[in-house]
Symmetry: C2
Amino acid sequence: MGRETFWAEDPADLLRVGEGFRLAEVDTNGHPGFDGAKDDGAAALAEGAAVLNGLQEQLYANNVVTGDPRRVLLVLQAMDSAGKGGIVNHVMGAVDPQGVHLAAFKKPTPEELEHDFLWRIHKQVPSAGKIGVFDRSHYEDVLIARVRSLAPAEEIERRYGAINDFEAELAATGTSIIKVMLHISKDEQKARLGDRLARADKHWKFNPGDIDERERWGEYQQAYQLVFERTSTSEAPWYVVPADRKWYARLAVQHLLIDALESMALEWPKADFDVAEQQRRLAES
Amino acid sequence: MGRETFWAEDPADLLRVGEGFRLAEVDTNGHPGFDGAKDDGAAALAEGAAVLNGLQEQLYANNVVTGDPRRVLLVLQAMDSAGKGGIVNHVMGAVDPQGVHLAAFKKPTPEELEHDFLWRIHKQVPSAGKIGVFDRSHYEDVLIARVRSLAPAEEIERRYGAINDFEAELAATGTSIIKVMLHISKDEQKARLGDRLARADKHWKFNPGDIDERERWGEYQQAYQLVFERTSTSEAPWYVVPADRKWYARLAVQHLLIDALESMALEWPKADFDVAEQQRRLAES
């Protein structure tokens, strides 16, 4: 049975944020489109890893030989402990590191704060041929920035438009943008943070500030809802991925990446040299 | 049987460049210290992957909690097709991407050439807690630069000292430096380049310039010999890894990395907050 066996529908169609989307109505424990169980999901993920890796290599090869400008950008946003790190490790970790550009955005540094909010972001856009991953992103500047009033209200309003312009520019120059919110329930977060507190080898992943943010849960959900309404565009759509089941979230994000690459109709590039001539030269060398 | 079963001796001791080292005397087809066959090597590599990943996570955790400045830098140098990419993919690819910083140095750009040769290198030194990998490095500036006379002879002479100073500075500030030359025979390179030419899905990896460099094989070997004599120091030793057998080269480099991390005697860091207090806060949230 192939990796598509259990997919009744393409998750891209089921998870994409469209007109009238309401975050509050999403079942964080669901597994839309996938009819299998956890074990089936793990098997499908392993198969998909080889597919994703092969497609990325073709993308890279085309850039090397023909200067193909295409690239993929995966933006990951979520509440703490929703599994961004697991996506990076278990989905992107299966791709040759030479084809991946990972950027984790933390609290801005003083230098970063002296620039506009997209300054540090633009520098981390993946080069052609690669899959870039943003672990947090410019969306923090309309999420925590809104909830914590880190910028004036009119500046935050301005940012939605600036983000859409930025992403449209990236899309127009060859970037396939996939924006993912990993969506967990407040109860699931409590269980996961509790697990971090219960295990000495997980304490380093916990920060008391995580609970401060948790106490603003409702405000964050509203800020996300607004993000979806203002910035889910046809060139750069949002996907809300139920993430209470880690195996499903990983599989769904992998599928979104594979979809994006398959839609590029990649082939191995033709040699830009005379193969027979080079074989002669090699034989004589 | 554990991954150490087949290691009769630590490859670090066998492969380290010391006094009187002669590159010409190294058997590129050997597997020093490892008494098993290819299959045993593959099994040991898979086991080692989990060990390496676990150690890297501890290194990272210590940086997060205590600001531990330690990091690892793996420098990879080799003739074309010797397997640098395979090391990155199969050894480093097993480590969580969040803990790896990969930098591939290609022909310097005009901007890079307007700076000293270490300018672009220094910017890519891994941050604390990570394993950095240089796919090619500042050593190109005393290898191809020497063979192709890309800089005046006295400038190239100056660079050996500049490199030693640079690496001593990195070591003094917490960087464990492992410099690896993957060493293949000229015949093995011919076979590998021939394979690239024979397969349409490998053409993109071939460049006619590879044969130009191949024709300077002897000069490159001399340039490497000089590099070892001038820059293998106690803080930043060179290891020459026989690489005609890909499985051995990968296993040996993985072992060098594990050795470096094990020598740090890493433990999980203690929580820098009151665990019981945070558990109470979480329960109430």
